[in-house]
C-alpha cells in the first residue's frame, strides 16, 4: 500500500491562491486597458507592453542574479505592477523612461524589501512618483483624446488634464464655473467615459468601476478602503464646495477627474501596503481621501492621489498596531 500523507488540520483549502488573486486584478483592469487603447491608440498598448515586460524582466533578473532565490515571476504580482505603472503614466512617455520607472517599482519598491508581500509602499506608485519628480515635463504633457464620437480617434495635441485646467485657471483667478464653461473643458460625461487628458489607465471612470465591481464580487478587495476613501473625499470636497462653489470643485468632478477612481479601487487597495483589520482600513481610507483633496486644493500639484496613498502607506504599520479587529469575548477593562 502507498504511504499515507500525514499533516496537521485543516485538510482542505478553498483553492484561491495568490496567482488567482493577481490574475483576477489583471482581469479587472482589462476594461480600462481597452478604453485607453481606444482613446490613445497603439501608443497606449506600447506603454503597457514595455512596462509589463520591464517589470517582469527586472523581477526575474533580481531574483536570479542578485537574490539567487526561486523565480517568482509566475505569481502575477509583477504583471499587476507593470500594468498599474503603465496606467499611471502618459501614453507618449519615452520607452526608456518607462523602463526606469519599472526598475524603480520592482527593484527599489518591491524586491529590495523582500519581494512579494513585503513592500511597505505601493510599487507602481513609487515608480510613478519617481518619474514625476525626475521628468516633470514628460510626465505632465498629456495627449488629449478628442471628445467621444468625434471623427478622428486620436490626435497629436498635448495639453493639461481636467484637474490641470482647473488648477491653472483657479490660480489665475478664474472661477470654477468659467473654467468649466470653456470649450476645451472635457465635462462630466467625457470624464466618465474617458475622453479626457491623463495617464492612460485613469481616464475612464466607468471602465474602472466595472473592474472594481468584479474585484469586489470575487472578494479580491473588500469595500472598506474604497468606501472610506471615496466617502471622505466626497464629504470633504463637498464641504469646501458648499463654502464657495466658485473656488472649489464639486465632489462629482473630484471623483471623475484625475486618478481618483483608479487610486480608490486599484492603488489604495494594494494588499501589502494597506492595513489589515477592517477598522484600520477605514482609518487608512479616510486619511487618504482627506489628503487627496487637501493636495488637490492647496498643494502645488493638481493631482494628489499618488502622494496621499503613499503617505497613508507609511502609516500602515502604525494603523495595524493601533486598530485591532474586535476580538470575540473581549473583556473591556474599565479604568
Amino acid at each position: 500500500m502507498n504511504l499515507l500523507t500525514v499533516s496537521g488540520s485543516p485538510h482542505v483549502h478553498d483553492h484561491q491562491n495568490v496567482k488567482s488573486i493577481m490574475y483576477g486584478v489583471v482581469v479587472a483592469m482589462i476594461p480600462a486597458i481597452f478604453v485607453s487603447v481606444y482613446f490613445f491608440g497603439l501608443d497606449s498598448a506600447r506603454v503597457i507592453f514595455i512596462s509589463v515586460s520591464a517589470c517582469l524582466f527586472f523581477e526575474w533578473a533580481i531574483q536570479k542574479y542578485l537574490l539567487k532565490g526561486a523565480l517568482t515571476i509566475n505569481d502575477g504580482s509583477a504583471l499587476v505592477t507593470g500594468v498599474l505603472l503603465a496606467f499611471n503614466v502618459p501614453s507618449n512617455l519615452p520607452a526608456w523612461m518607462i523602463i526606469v520607472g519599472a526598475l524603480v517599482s520592482i527593484g527599489i519598491a518591491k524586491m529590495s524589501f523582500g519581494g512579494l508581500g513585503k513592500n511597505p509602499f505601493n510599487p507602481a506608485l513609487i515608480g510613478r512618483v519617481f518619474l514625476l519628480i525626475s521628468f516633470p515635463v514628460q510626465m505632465t504633457s498629456w495627449p488629449i483624446p478628442k471628445a467621444l464620437f468625434s471623427s478622428s480617434v486620436t490626435d497629436a495635441i498635448t495639453g493639461p488634464t481636467t484637474l490641470g485646467i482647473l488648477k491653472e485657471g483657479l490660480n489665475a483667478g478664474k472661477t470654477v464655473q468659467e473654467l468649466m464653461a470653456n470649450s476645451g473643458f472635457p465635462g462630466y460625461v467625457n470624464d466618465m467615459v474617458g475622453a479626457q487628458g491623463g495617464s492612460l489607465g485613469e481616464i475612464s471612470a466607468i471602465a474602472l468601476l466595472i473592474g472594481a465591481i468584479y474585484m469586489l464580487l470575487r472578494r479580491i478587495i473588500t469595500w472598506h478602503i474604497p468606501v472610506a476613501y471615496a466617502g471622505s473625499a466626497i464629504i470633504f470636497s463637498g464641504i469646501l464646495w458648499l463654502v464657495d462653489p466658485t473656488r472649489y470643485i464639486d465632489p462629482a468632478m473630484h471623483m471623475l477627474a484625475g486618478g481618483m477612481i483608479l487610486g480608490v479601487f486599484f492603488m489604495a487597495t494594494d494588499m501589502s501596503s494597506s492595513p489589515m483589520s477592517p477598522k484600520g482600513q477605514i482609518v487608512y481610507g479616510v486619511g487618504a481621501g482627506l489628503l487627496t483633496i487637501m493636495i488637490r486644493v492647496w498643494g502645488a500639484y493638481p493631482e494628489g492621489v499618488s502622494f496621499a496613498i503613499l503617505i497613508m502607506n507609511a502609516f500602515t504599520p502604525l494603523i495595524n498596531k493601533a486598530f485591532k479587529p474586535r476580538r470575540f469575548g473581549e473583556v473591556i477593562i474599565k479604568k
Binding site: G8, S9, I21, D75, M271, F328, E330
Partner: protein
C-alpha cells in the same frame, strides 16, 4: 436565519453519507481499547491479562476529578495490556480483548423500548454518567458528569445541544437526530434535570432540513426544548460560536460557557446519556461516519469502541485505490492517521478518506497581507500576526495578542491564498504559551 457574526467560512459541504441510514458494524475479532479516551487524567486499568470479561464491564477506572471510566465494548478474553498509537498519534495504554460471543452485563437493558420517564434524581444522574463513562462525543471528550457539576457561584440558565455538525463530510449527528431523535430528546431532558434548567435549545444547521423537521415534529412532546435552525457556516459547532448564534451571548475570553449561564452538549452525547440513565448502558459504541469521494459506500456505522479503523473502511467498500490521507474526524479539525490499525475511540465522529490529489497542501509562498485570515477568524484574532510571533519564537508577545483564544478551527489556513501553515504555527505557539504559564504558576 440565526448564525454567529464574527468571521467564519463555508467550505464545500460534501455530506456524501447524509442519506445512508445507520448500520450496525459486525463485531470485530479483536478490539483494542485505549484507557485514556477523555480529556483530563488517564484512567487506571482494573482488569488483568487472561481475564474473561463481558460486554459493558468496567476495565479502567477514572480516579481524578476530570477523568472517566472505560468499559469493555465486547465480551471475551483480555489478551494483553499494552499500549497503542491512538487517533491522537500518541502512544497510550490500552487493553486488548479477543472477542468471544457477545455476552452483555446483566444490569444493562438491551430491549428496544423507549423509556421516557426519568426516575433518577439529579445526583443519581451525575453519578450514573460517571459510572458509565459518558464523555462529550463532539470530539473534545470532556467527561459529561463533570459538566453537570456547576462550579460554586455560577448558575446554569440554558442547556444548548449541538446538532450543528458544521464539519464537512460528517453526518453521524445528522443520522442520529433523524433515526434516534426521540431517545436523543429524552437524553436532553435528562441533561436538563441534571443541570436543573428548564430551557434547552438544539441548534441545527439548515443543511439538515429532514432532521430539523423531524425534531420539530416530536418536540411538542418535550416542553422546554426548542429547535433552532441555523445558517450554514463553519465553525458554528464551536461552543462559543453556537452560544453566540443561538442566544447572542458572548463567552468572555478565557472563560467557559457557564460564565454566560450556558452548558453545551453534543446530540451524540445526549443519546449516550439517554442510554446510560434509562438503560444503564455504558459508553461502548458510537455512530461513526465513514466517508470520502472515492469510497464505494459512504456510510454511517454503529461501531463498538476499540474496533480498528480498517474494519470500518472495509465495510464501506474498502480502501480506495487513490487514497492519500485518512483522517480521524472531519477535514477542518480532524487528525490525519498514521496507520489504519488505530482503534475507534469515544471521540471518533468520522473517518474521512481523501484522495491523493486532495491530500497535499498548496505550495507555501510569501504572505501577501491580504488579511483574509483576519476576516475569517471567528475569534477576532490576527492569525497572520500570531503565526509570525510563533515562528519568531516570541511567545510572550503571542500571549499578549491572545493566542490562547484560538479554537484551532483552521479557517485561517483554509482561506490563506499563500498556503501558509498558519494553524501549525498557532498550535505550536499555544503549546509554548501554555508551558510558559504553567512555569509561571510554579514560581
Amino acid at each position: 436565519m440565526k448564525t454567529f457574526k464574527l468571521g467564519g467560512i463555508h467550505p464545500g459541504e460534501n455530506k456524501l453519507s447524509a442519506g445512508a441510514a445507520i448500520e450496525i458494524l459486525p463485531l470485530p475479532t479483536q478490539v483494542c481499547i485505549p484507557v485514556s479516551q477523555n480529556l483530563g487524567a488517564p484512567s487506571k486499568v482494573v482488569v488483568e491479562k487472561g481475564a474473561v470479561i463481558r460486554t459493558g464491564q468496567l476495565i479502567a477506572k477514572g480516579e481524578a476529578f476530570i477523568s472517566s471510566n472505560v468499559h469493555s465494548s465486547v465480551s471475551g478474553k483480555v489478551t494483553k495490556i499494552d499500549s497503542v498509537i491512538d487517533t491522537s498519534g500518541y502512544k497510550r495504554p490500552a487493553v486488548y480483548i479477543d472477542v468471544e460471543g457477545d455476552e452483555w452485563e446483566e444490569s444493562i437493558d438491551r430491549s428496544q423500548d423507549i423509556i421516557s420517564d426519568i426516575r433518577l434524581s439529579r445526583e443519581e444522574i451525575i453519578s450514573r454518567l460517571n459510572e458509565t463513562g459518558i464523555v462529550g462525543l463532539g470530539g473534545a471528550t470532556f467527561p459529561s458528569h463533570v459538566k453537570l457539576m456547576i462550579p460554586e457561584g455560577k448558575k446554569a440558565e440554558y442547556l444548548l445541544i449541538n446538532g450543528v455538525e458544521c464539519e464537512p463530510y460528517l453526518t453521524s449527528d445528522h443520522r442520529l437526530m433523524l433515526e434516534r431523535g426521540r431517545e436523543m430528546m429524552i437524553g436532553v431532558k435528562i441533561l436538563m434535570k441534571g443541570l436543573n434548567v428548564t430551557k434547552a435549545y438544539i441548534g441545527i444547521e439548515r443543511n439538515k432540513p429532514d432532521a430539523i423537521d423531524h425534531l420539530l415534529k416530536i418536540s411538542a412532546e418535550f416542553p422546554g426544548i426548542e429547535i433552532i435552525p441555523l445558517k450554514v457556516k463553519y465553525p458554528q459547532g464551536g461552543e462559543k460560536q453556537l452560544i453566540k448564534a443561538v442566544l447572542n451571548r458572548e463567552v468572555p475570553s478565557g472563560k467557559l460557557p457557564i460564565e454566560v449561564g450556558c452548558v453545551v452538549n453534543n446530540v451524540g452525547t445526549a443519546l449516550a446519556v439517554y442510554e446510560a440513565v434509562q438503560k444503564n448502558k455504558p459508553l461502548i459504541d458510537r455512530v461513526v461516519t465513514v466517508t470520502g469521494k472515492s469510497l464505494k459506500k459512504p456510510s454511517n456505522l454503529l461501531v463498538r469502541i476499540g474496533t480498528p479503523v480498517n474494519q470500518l473502511i472495509d465495510f464501506a467498500g474498502g480502501l480506495p485505490e487513490d487514497t492519500g490521507k485518512v483522517i480521524n474526524g472531519g477535514p477542518m479539525m480532524g487528525k490525519a492517521l498514521t496507520s489504519l490499525e488505530v482503534p475507534v475511540v469515544k471521540g471518533t465522529s468520522g473517518i474521512l478518506i481523501l484522495p491523493e490529489n486532495e491530500s497535499r497542501r498548496i505550495p507555501v509562498i510569501n504572505c501577501i497581507r491580504c488579511a483574509r485570515c483576519i476576516s475569517v477568524c471567528p475569534m477576532g484574532l490576527e492569525p497572520v500576526l500570531l503565526a509570525q510571533l510563533s515562528e519568531n519564537q516570541v511567545y510572550e508577545a503571542a500571549e499578549k495578542e491572545h493566542i490562547l483564544d484560538c479554537i484551532e478551527c483552521g479557517s485561517c489556513q483554509y482561506t490563506c491564498p499563500a498556503g501558509r501553515p498558519l494553524l501549525d504555527y498557532l498550535r505550536l505557539g499555544k503549546n509554548k504559551v501554555g508551558v510558559i504559564i504553567r512555569n509561571r504558576g510554579k514560581k
